[in-house]
Structures are given as structure tokens and as C-alpha cells.
């Protein structure tokens, strides 16, 4: 078991390095030397100072190595636009809000989505089932900015139940996290339903019934556990969605998170911020994948030994 965990962890390191490398390469493509490309003219002397400070006069592999070292020591370098702040500062200031938003969104998705899927499976082909599946289809298709806007329009503006924007009191946090969590919710509901239906067909469920076990016990002990495994593994890709979706939600609800800052950073060509945030989110995703993989191994004993 521990060997399995260690193996998985070891594999993530080259993946992380690769991710950082790719981002690095891409950033180099955009800017080369961002200081020469900016629209504002920068005096030559200052330019040279800056270049030296940012190690831009070193060959690329040195820059890369320095950057990697920076990442592992959580130093993403200084912001290129806000000269007196480092990327770290910016991240520290904005990221926690996005993290909170994402967390609550995932919570909505799990708390509402999974039970919905379970019930739909148990009452297959009922009105509830069809209704749920229809809603989940809609949830996939409708862009979250539309949902968010409609929610603001009705719940916040017309009915005045919650504030329309900001991220301060708990009331402000309900709507944005719900809007962000809608698609993951639909995804979970669908996934869990399908997984449960499949599990219910399994032979070992029939065996459990033949043993005379009570229906509730069968559902909880045999069916749920095995059905939830795919749902758990879905958390990782959903995290990616939540991260990207947060950009739009933060924009609409005026939440001062890292997503919104990222967009402005791109337009203002603050490349170190862009890179820092991308690398950070990638790291989060890779780590989430790792956790999910390990969790999967815990839940399904077969995979522990089948790992290549």
C-alpha cells in the first residue's frame, strides 16, 4: 500500500517539472524579453537593471533552472507590472478567495449532486429521474455566465435575497459558489446515477440479495461504495473546470480573486503573474490527481496491485 503511494508521488515530480517547463517555454514565446516589448518606453539603463534583476540576461536553461528552484521554494518572482509587488504577494492576496470559492462550489456539487444521482438511480424512470436528467443536461449546456447572470437578476435583484456581488459576508458567498458548482453538480448527479445503475446490475448485488440482507444495507455497503468510486475520480477533472469557471464567476460577481486578476494580467502583459498563476493552478490540478489516484487505490483494492 505504501509502496503504491510512494510510486504515485514519485511520478508526479517529472510531471510537475514538465508542466513548469511547458509554461516557461510558452511564456518565453510570448515575451522573450517583456521589457523591450512593452508599449511604454523604458529608459535603457533601467531596462538593463531590470534585466539583470530578473536574470533575463542569462541563457534560457539557467533561467528555467532558477525558475524551477523558485517554484519549489514558492518564489514566483516579481510582478512585471506592479513593480513593488511580487507575484507571491499578489497570489497571497487573491488566491485564498478563489480557493474558498472553488471549495464551496465543490461542496455544493457534492452535497446536492451525489444524493440527487443516488435517488435518481433508485427511482429509475420515474418523474424524478427524468426531471433530474433533464436538469443535468441543461446544466452542462447552459454557459455558467448565463446561469450566474440569471441568478443575479432574479435572486439578488428582483427578490433581493442576497447581495449581487462581492465576497465578504456569507450571504455574498452563496450565489457565486452555487453558480460555479452547478456544472459539477450536474456532472456528479449523472455520474453517480449511471454508476449506481451499473452497480445495481452486478452479480454481487444479486448475491447480497440472495443472502437476505436488508435493502438498506445492500445499498449502503455494496452499492454506494462501489458506485462512488468513479465519482471520486471525477473530482480531479472537475477541479480543472472549477478553476477555469471561476474566472467568469469572479468577473460577474466582482470577486477579487486570482481568476479575475489573471485576466487583467494577460491584458496588461504581466507575464510573471500569468506564469505564476498558471503554474500554481497546474500544480493544484496535478496534486489533486495524485490525491484522487491514491484515494482510488484505497477504495478499490484491485488497483493497488494492478498499477504498472
Amino acid at each position: 500500500m505504501t509502496a503504491f503511494i510512494i510510486r504515485r508521488i514519485l511520478w508526479t515530480i517529472p510531471v510537475l517539472l514538465l508542466v513548469i517547463f511547458l509554461t516557461f517555454v510558452m511564456m518565453k514565446q510570448i515575451g522573450g524579453n517583456p521589457f523591450r516589448r512593452t508599449e511604454r518606453a523604458v529608459p535603457v539603463a533601467i531596462q538593463q537593471n531590470l534585466e539583470r534583476k530578473f536574470n533575463l540576461d542569462e541563457p534560457w536553461y539557467v533561467q528555467y533552472a532558477l525558475y524551477v528552484k523558485g517554484v519549489f521554494t514558492f518564489d514566483f518572482g516579481p510582478s512585471l507590472v506592479s513593480r513593488d509587488r511580487t507575484v507571491n504577494d499578489i497570489i497571497k492576496e487573491h488566491a485564498p478567495k478563489s480557493l474558498e470559492l472553488g471549495l464551496y462550489a465543490m461542496l455544493w456539487a457534492i452535497v446536492l449532486g451525489i444524493p440527487a444521482g443516488v435517488i435518481a438511480a433508485l427511482r429509475q424512470n420515474s418523474i424524478y429521474d427524468y426531471g433530474l436528467m433533464f436538469l443535468s443536461n441543461v446544466g452542462f449546456a447552459v454557459p455558467s455566465f448565463l446561469v450566474a447572470t440569471l441568478l443575479i437578476y432574479y435572486v439578488a435583484l428582483k427578490w433581493g435575497l442576497v447581495p449581487t456581488n462581492g465576497w465578504t459576508t456569507w450571504q455574498t458567498k452563496i450565489l457565486p459558489s452555487f453558480a460555479l458548482g452547478l456544472l459539477p453538480m450536474a456532472y456528479f448527479a449523472r455520474l453517480v446515477r449511471g454508476s449506481m445503475l451499473e452497480t445495481l446490475q452486478q452479480d454481487y448485488v444479486r448475491t447480497a440479495r440472495a443472502k437476505g440482507l436488508r435493502q438498506r444495507r445492500i445499498i449502503v455497503r455494496h452499492v454506494l461504495r462501489n458506485s462512488l468510486i468513479p465519482a471520486i475520480t471525477a473530482i480531479a477533472p472537475l477541479l480543472g473546470f472549477i478553476i477555469t469557471g471561476s474566472f467568469v464567476i469572479e468577473l460577474i460577481f466582482s470577486i477579487p480573486g486570482i481568476g479575475r486578476y489573471f485576466v487583467t494580467a494577460v491584458s496588461s502583459r504581466d507575464y510573471s503573474v500569468v506564469m505564476g498563476v498558471t503554474v500554481l493552478t497546474s500544480v493544484v490540478i496535478v496534486l489533486a490527481n495524485l490525491v484522487v489516484d491514491i484515494l482510488y487505490g484505497v477504495l478499490d483494492p484491485r488497483t493497488r496491485e494492478a498499477r504498472s
Partner: protein, 316 residues
Amino acid sequence: MTLDPRDAVVADAAVPEVVAGAGARAGAPVHRASLWRDAWRRYLQNKGAVVAGAIFVFIVLFCLLYPLVSPHDPDQIELTNAREGPTLEHPLGTDAFGRDMLTRVALAGRISLAIGLGATIAILLFGVVYGSTAGFFGGRLDNIQMRLLDALYGLPYLPFAIILLAIIGTINMWTMMLALSIASWFTAARIVRGQIITLKQNDYVRAAQALGARWYRVLTRHLLPNTLGVLIIAMFLELPGVILGEAFLGFIGLGISPPEASLGSMAEEGRAEYRANPHIMIVPSLAIAVVVLCANFIADGMRDALDPRTRETKEG
């Protein structure tokens, strides 16, 4: 059709076998035409998919044809008419500049659909090239390719696309296609690889190889045609992602530059107005939703049609 004797033995068996899991039935030759016809028949039984397909076709035709017959000039600014709700003259209302929404939606729809189609094709192309080499050659190459793919998966979709667009510099229909496809071909590669690996186990492949067929022949004549079904399904699965991706990018301001508009950039324009005139944003957003919904249903329908076993049992 060449008369190459190495193909003779396996000619009948080179038929579409679809969806991962077909490995269980691997090697069951079915006459080519009847499989597609069967699938088409099964597809037609799925009411949702048929309706979705019809709506989708209608939308495509509408976007292509309506601007040609519309009485309104989409670019004509008429401030006196601005921000009107749906009327007879303007069935979907007008936007902040008095331009007819219906016509604009059709035009924007063209762009969005084109981006969707283009990006999807590019995704499939990348996916096929990458996935088939990984799946076919296997071994170390496959391992390396998969690890690389794992790393690429770690890059979040939108930020990746944004960075790509920044690298490319301009944002127009073609660059959007390129950026979105580069940011999301990974799943397609995985699917193709999986399918190739499954198909590789088939006896007819071994037979062809035993007869001395070269690898590229086996790949192109036998394996790839059989991935066609999976590819078509993948196409309709990727389409929503691309269209939504373009919508998102448009919405945060990184969409296609005017005067061309996509559904996403239309939504962004509408955002400023939503408090007073929500329809300006709702209309293009709903259009996106409908297209995506249809694509999802179509994909589901095709998946069921081509491999009925994956359909959940309706009986208990």
C-alpha cells in the same frame, strides 16, 4: 481497391468496431454496410437524439442562410431602435446599438459553429496522430507519450488557451480554433489510443501482420477505419467544450475582435446591459446552450446507436 493478396484474407473483417469495450467482442466480423444501417436505425429510435439532430441541422442551416435573406443589415446602427425587446420586426429584439439581434445571432452563430467545427477537426487530427502512434507501437514510446499527456492534462484548459492566444498574438476565428484545439486534444488522443489498443488485439490484425503487411498499412487500412465510429462520437463530445470555451473567452473579453462577432463576444457585449435589458445577453447565451445541448444529445444517441450495450437497462 487494390488486389494486394495480403489484404484478401482480412478484407471482410475490416469493419467498424466501436467504443472501448468492443474488445470483448473483438474479432466478430459483420458486414460493413449493415452495421452502419443498424446503427442508423437504432439512432432513429432514440427520440431525444433525433429531435436534437433535427434542431442542430436547423440551426446550422439557419445560421448559414438567414443572414442572406434577412431584411436587416446586421451592422447598421440605429440608435432610435436600441434595446428593444422582441417585436414583429425584430423577433429577438435589438441590441444596444439598435442592430437586429436575430440577424446578428445568425452571423455570430456562423462564426461560433465554424470555430467549433474547425477546432473539433483539429482536435481529432492531433488526437488520431498522437493516439494511434502511442496505441499502435506501444511499449516505451507509448509510456513516454502517456506521461507527456499526463503532464499536458495538468495544464488548465482556459489559462492554457489564453496563453496560447497571447503567444499567437491576434485573436480571430482561425487563431481561436488553433488555440482551443491545442488546449483540448488530449482526451481525443486518449480515446483513440484506447480504441487502437483494443482493436490491435483482434485476430484480423494479427492475420494481416502474419501475412507480412507493413505497419502503416495495418494502421491505415485496418485500424483507423474502425475507429471512425469512436471519432464521430468524440467529435460531438468535443464540440460543446470548444463552443463553451470560445464563449467563455469571449465573455471575459478575449474573444474575437470586432467587427466580427461570435456568440461569446455577443454575450459579453450584452453583459453591460443585463440589468435593464437582459435579453441582449440572454439571446446569444441561450443560442450557445441550445447548440451544446443538441450536441450532447446527439453524442449520446450516437454512442447508444453504435454500441447498444452501453445503454443503461430500462428494465430494473
